[in-house]
C-alpha cells in the first residue's frame, strides 16, 4: 500500500461530487477539506454523518459547496457555523434538512444494499414535509398495540466519496478508526473511500485480534494519504484533543467574508506553504 499525496487525493475528487464527512467528534479529515479549498473545488454536495461541523463550514466559506444534506451544521461550543449561515441566507447553498438517525438509516440502507429502510419518529415533523424523497407508508406488521402503524421509508443514500481521517493505515491498506464505526458505515455505503491518516504502520490489522475490531478492511479503501494532525482542530481519539481556542478564533474571524478570507490565507494557504518549507 503506497500512500498518495494529500493534493493528489483532493485532485481525484471531481467538482460536484457527493462527499460523506463525519463531524468534529468523529474523525473529520480537515486536512483534505483544506486541500479541496486549495484546489478550488466547486459544487460539492456534502453529507453530514449525521451532522456537519468545522470542515463543512470552511468548505462552504471557500465556495466549494452547492448542497448540504445533514441534521445540523454547528461549531459545538463555539456556536453557529458562520459561513454556513451566511451562505444559506445568500442562497448560495441548498440545505436538505434531516434528523440524525435518518442520516444513519439512509447510509445503512446503502451499506446493506437495500433500496430503503424504515425509521420511526419523523411523522408530524416539517423535516418530513420538506423531504419529497421520503415516503410514509402503513407498516404491514401490526404495531405493539395491534393497530396499523404509519412509518417512514427512507431511500438508500450512496455518496460518491467517503472522506475521513484515521489514526493509522497498515501495510495492507487497512485503516484503523477505533470506536468511530460511522466511518466504516460511510466506507461501506460510498462508491469510493479516501482516507487521510496520521501515519502508516507495518503489519496487517486484520491479523491482530486487538486491532481488527477498530479496523476497516482495505477492500473499501481506494487511497490513503498521510496528513499529520489531519483532524485538527477536531480531536483524534486519544491522540489529540479538540482545539477549542482555535475554533473560537475561527468563529470570530468567520463572522464576515473578509475575516474568513484572512483566516483561510493563514490556515489553509499559509499553512501549506509553511509545511512545504
Amino acid at each position: 500500500m503506497t500512500p498518495i499525496s494529500l493534493e493528489a487525493m483532493a485532485a481525484s475528487i471531481p467538482d460536484g461530487a457527493m462527499l460523506a464527512m463525519p463531524p468534529d467528534n468523529s474523525l473529520p479529515s480537515v486536512a483534505l477539506a483544506k486541500a479541496l479549498i486549495r484546489r478550488g473545488a466547486r459544487g460539492l454536495r456534502l453529507v453530514g454523518v449525521p451532522i456537519s461541523g468545522f470542515a463543512t463550514d470552511i468548505l462552504i466559506g471557500a465556495g466549494c459547496v452547492s448542497e448540504v444534506n445533514t441534521s445540523a451544521v454547528t461549531l459545538g461550543e463555539a456556536g453557529f457555523a458562520p459561513r454556513f449561515t451566511e451562505a444559506l441566507k445568500a442562497g448560495r447553498i441548498t440545505i436538505r434538512d434531516a434528523t440524525c438517525p435518518a442520516m444513519h438509516t439512509m447510509l445503512q440502507a446503502a451499506e446493506k444494499g437495500v433500496p430503503f429502510m424504515p425509521l420511526r419518529g419523523l411523522i408530524g415533523s416539517d423535516i418530513l414535509a420538506n423531504r419529497p424523497d421520503w415516503r410514509v407508508v402503513e407498516s404491514p406488521f401490526p404495531a405493539p398495540d395491534g393497530s396499523v402503524e404509519k412509518i417512514t421509508l427512507l431511500p438508500a443514500l450512496h455518496p460518491d466519496v467517503a472522506v475521513f481521517h484515521a489514526a493509522m493505515a497498515d501495510s495492507a491498506g487497512n485503516v484503523w478508526v477505533g470506536r468511530r464505526r460511522e466511518c466504516a458505515t460511510i466506507a461501506h455505503a460510498s462508491r469510493r473511500c479516501l482516507v487521510t491518516v496520521e501515519r502508516v504502520v507495518e503489519g496487517n490489522f486484520l491479523e491482530d485480534e486487538r486491532m481488527t475490531p477498530g479496523a476497516i478492511n482495505a477492500t473499501y479503501i481506494e487511497a490513503v494519504a498521510v496528513a499529520e494532525r489531519g483532524a485538527q482542530p477536531a480531536a483524534l481519539l486519544d491522540e489529540y484533543g479538540f482545539d477549542t481556542e482555535c475554533v473560537l478564533a475561527y468563529a470570530r474571524a468567520a463572522k464576515t467574508a473578509e475575516g474568513f478570507a484572512e483566516w483561510c490565507a493563514e490556515h489553509v494557504f499559509g499553512g501549506q506553504r509553511a509545511a512545504a518549507e
Binding site: V73, E77, D97, T99, H104, I127, R181
Partner: protein
C-alpha cells in the same frame, strides 16, 4: 439576582433539572449535543448517589458508544433510554420544537444549526426534559415557525414518550400530552406570574398554589462546584471556565 442569592443561574437550573429527573424512576439517561446544564444535572444525580446510567454522546474518553454514532439512536429505538434532553430555537405551547429557523423554510429569517436527533428522540425516549435558558416571547412562541419535532403525535404514529417539563431561566412548566398544554410548576426567585406571562408567547395553565422554585442547597452547590465540575471539564471546558472559573490541568 442569582449572585446575590449565593448561587449562579446555571446552578439553579441544574438543580431544577436534577429534581425533575429524580421525580420519576430513571435508570438510563442519554445526553446529546444539548447544553452543558442538563449534563451537570445528570452528574449531580449520580453524585447524590442515584443508581443512574449516563450515556454522554460528546464524552471523549470513555465514550459509551462502541457501535458508532448511530448507537445512541439504536439504543433509544430499543426503548433503553428513559430520559433525553432537548431544547429549541423556538418552543411553542403544544411543546413543538423548532431547531430549523424562522422565516420561510429552511430558515430564511434566523437559521438555527438544525434538528439534530430531535425528530426521533422526542418520540422514542421514555420522556424528555425540555431546557432553554432564554425565556422570552421570541423563544417561547404561540406557534413555532417550523416543527423539527412535534410535542404530540396523531394515532397510528409510534410514540413512546413526551415532554415531562420545560425548564427555563425564569420558571418550570410541566407538560400534559393528553391536552397538549403546559402548566406552570414553579417560578424562579425574582420572577412573578405576571412577569412570566409577559415573557411567554404561549398560553399555559396555572394551577393553584404555584410557588417559588426552591434554591439549590449548600450540599447541591458543593457537589456542582466540586465533583460535578470534575466530570465535565473534558467535555465542556468553556462552560466550566465561565461558570466555575476552572480549567483542566494541562
Amino acid at each position: 439576582m442569582s449572585a446575590a442569592a449565593g448561587y449562579r443561574s446555571e446552578e439553579l437550573l441544574a438543580v431544577c433539572i436534577a429534581r425533575l429527573i429524580r421525580a420519576v424512576p430513571t435508570r438510563h439517561i442519554a445526553v446529546g449535543a444539548a447544553s452543558p446544564i442538563p449534563a451537570a444535572a445528570c452528574w449531580l444525580c449520580v453524585k447524590q448517589g442515584d443508581p443512574l446510567r449516563l450515556s454522554l454522546l460528546h464524552k471523549r474518553s470513555g465514550n459509551p458508544f462502541t457501535d458508532g454514532s448511530r448507537e445512541l439512536f439504536d439504543l433509544t429505538g430499543q426503548g433503553r433510554v428513559d430520559l433525553f434532553f432537548l431544547g429549541g430555537g423556538e418552543i411553542d405551547g403544544q411543546a413543538n420544537l423548532n431547531l430549523i429557523g424562522t422565516g420561510d423554510w429552511p430558515g430564511t429569517g434566523v437559521r438555527f444549526p438544525g434538528s439534530f436527533g430531535s425528530a426521533f428522540m422526542y418520540y422514542m425516549a421514555g420522556r424528555t426534559i425540555l431546557f432553554r435558558e432564554e425565556h422570552s416571547p421570541r423563544v417561547l412562541v404561540q406557534r413555532v415557525a417550523h416543527i423539527s419535532a412535534p410535542g404530540t403525535s396523531e394515532p397510528g404514529v409510534y410514540r413512546r414518550g413526551h415532554a415531562q417539563a420545560l425548564v427555563t431561566g425564569r420558571c418550570i412548566f410541566h407538560f400534559h400530552p393528553e391536552r397538549a398544554r403546559f402548566s406552570l410548576a414553579s417560578i424562579h426567585a425574582g420572577e412573578t406570574l405576571e412577569s412570566i406571562r409577559a415573557m411567554t408567547g404561549f398560553d399555559f395553565d396555572v394551577p393553584d398554589g404555584v410557588g417559588e422554585t426552591p434554591p439549590p442547597s449548600a450540599a447541591e452547590l458543593a457537589l456542582l462546584q466540586g465533583p460535578v465540575c470534575d466530570e465535565m471539564l473534558e467535555t465542556y471546558p468553556e462552560f466550566c471556565r465561565r461558570v466555575w472559573g476552572r480549567s483542566r490541568a494541562a
